[in-house]
């Protein structure tokens, strides 16, 4: 009875001792994959922000969110290098959640920027070119009208003076 208790105790201690590295290893693994996922998310969101910026969108708010997520990722990487895998995983997850709905926000910002760019193009470029042509044509028309009106009057005055 005493022998079997001793064996059981020994087995329990062995299992506990042997399971510690595997728990740590599992924690390390999940922290590493969380950090890797956060890095990928950051790059994906950065690409979305770049696309929005190329459509002339104001991306100040987007970069601010990216910087917040980047700071969390930096802290996660530091915690990982200090073997604090629990904190590393938590910070990496926080970094990802900071960027939830980021891509859709960037896309809608891009769409509205593209829309206002079209409006701006229509108003400033097309409107301006059409307006310029209208001013020039209008000038010719007004000149022709004035010429017809006052040019003829001048002619009348001339013929009157000739008669005198």
């Amino acid at each position: 009875m005493r022998v079997s208790l001793g064996v059981l105790l020994l087995a329990a201690i062995s299992i506990a001792v042997l399971s510690v590295p595997s728990v740590v290893w599992a924690q390390q693994n999940s922290a590493a994959s969380a950090i890797s996922a956060a890095q990928s998310k950051l790059v994906q969101c950065y690409d979305a922000a770049r696309a929005a910026e190329s459509a002339s969108a104001n991306i100040s708010q987007l970069t601010s969110r990216l910087n917040s997520a980047g700071l969390l990722l930096s802290r996660a990487e530091l915690a990982y290098s200090n073997a604090d895998f629990g904190s590393a995983q938590s910070l990496a997850v926080q970094s990802q959640s900071e960027l939830a709905s980021f891509v859709s926000d960037a896309n809608s910002l891009q769409a509205s920027a593209a829309q206002s760019r079209t409006f701006d193009f229509l108003l400033n470029i097309v409107g301006s070119v059409v307006g310029t042509v209208a001013v020039l044509v209008g000038g010719f028309v007004v000149w022709g009208f004035l010429k017809r009106k006052y040019g003829n009057d001048g002619g009348v005055q001339k013929s009157e003076s000739d008669a005198v």
């Binding site: 770049r50 970069t63 990722l73 200090n82 400033n124 301006s128 000038g139 006052y150």
Partner: protein, 236 residues
């Protein structure tokens, strides 16, 4: 009324009016294209100006500087600022060869900056270190006189000398504790200081290769790690 004498006036008025109406389009067409694309990294002192940078460092004290990153690349950029620390003998970034320090980074700061924008990050830091005497072997060349009619020979002599060394424990950086164990700085009798060098290297994300590349820019702070705890004997 003679219309021809108003012809020039009419043309000028019409042309000015046309230019006014065309100005929004001209504004977009007549823009001088950007030819220089670059990034900037800068450090400002505690008063937001380029002076009063921390130099004489005391263990346990906190210092503040401002790190700035500006983007003139034509598009939003993803930067990383790698924070490194070195003593006089360790690898430094090279402005001439445009290479980074080979030391491992203690901390990586992610920074996203839109085109024509800049980002300023306050950096609060402080060092924890202590001093100890270490024995160093110093090699000197000694001329040994030869015998009669013979030239002297130069021999190398090894002497063990005791020098004071600053041993670093940690660097507090924006509330994070960075491990500096294994880092040390020997007392330099020529310069009268325990040299320390905090480096901020700028790296940039390259979307084509999907990784970061050294952006050939860095800023650094040079320190004298003072030994206030030792009575100020070695304060530079």
């Amino acid at each position: 009324m003679n219309l021809t004498q108003y012809k020039a006036l009419f043309i000028v008025v019409t042309a000015v009016l046309a230019l006014l109406v065309a100005s929004p389009a001209l504004q977009r067409v007549l823009v001088y294209p950007r030819t220089e694309f670059f990034s900037e990294i800068s450090l400002l002192g505690p008063g937001h100006v380029a002076e009063n940078y921390p130099y004489n460092i005391t263990s346990g004290e906190n210092y503040t500087v401002f790190l700035g990153v500006a983007n003139q690349l034509g598009a939003c950029a993803y930067y990383q600022v790698e924070v490194k620390f070195r003593n006089e003998t360790q690898s430094a970034p090279d402005s001439f060869n445009r290479t980074p320090s080979s030391l491992p980074s203690l901390y990586i700061l992610n920074a996203f900056v839109a085109d024509r924008e800049s980002l300023e990050v306050p950096v609060n830091f402080g060092f924890d270190y202590s001093f100890q005497n270490v024995v160093r072997t110093v090699y000197t060349n000694v001329t040994v006189p030869g015998g009669l009619g013979q030239n002297g020979t130069v021999e190398q002599r090894a002497d063990n000398v005791t020098v004071l060394q600053a041993n670093f424990d940690s660097l507090k950086f924006n509330g994070e504790t960075l491990n500096l164990q294994g880092y040390s700085s020997d007392w330099n009798p020529q310069t009268n200081l325990f040299y320390g060098n905090l480096i901020f290297e700028l790296w940039i994300y390259n979307s084509t290769i999907g990784s970061f590349q050294y952006h050939e820019r860095f800023v650094d702070l040079k320190f004298n790690m003072t030994s206030a705890g030792l009575g100020g004997t070695f304060v530079g």
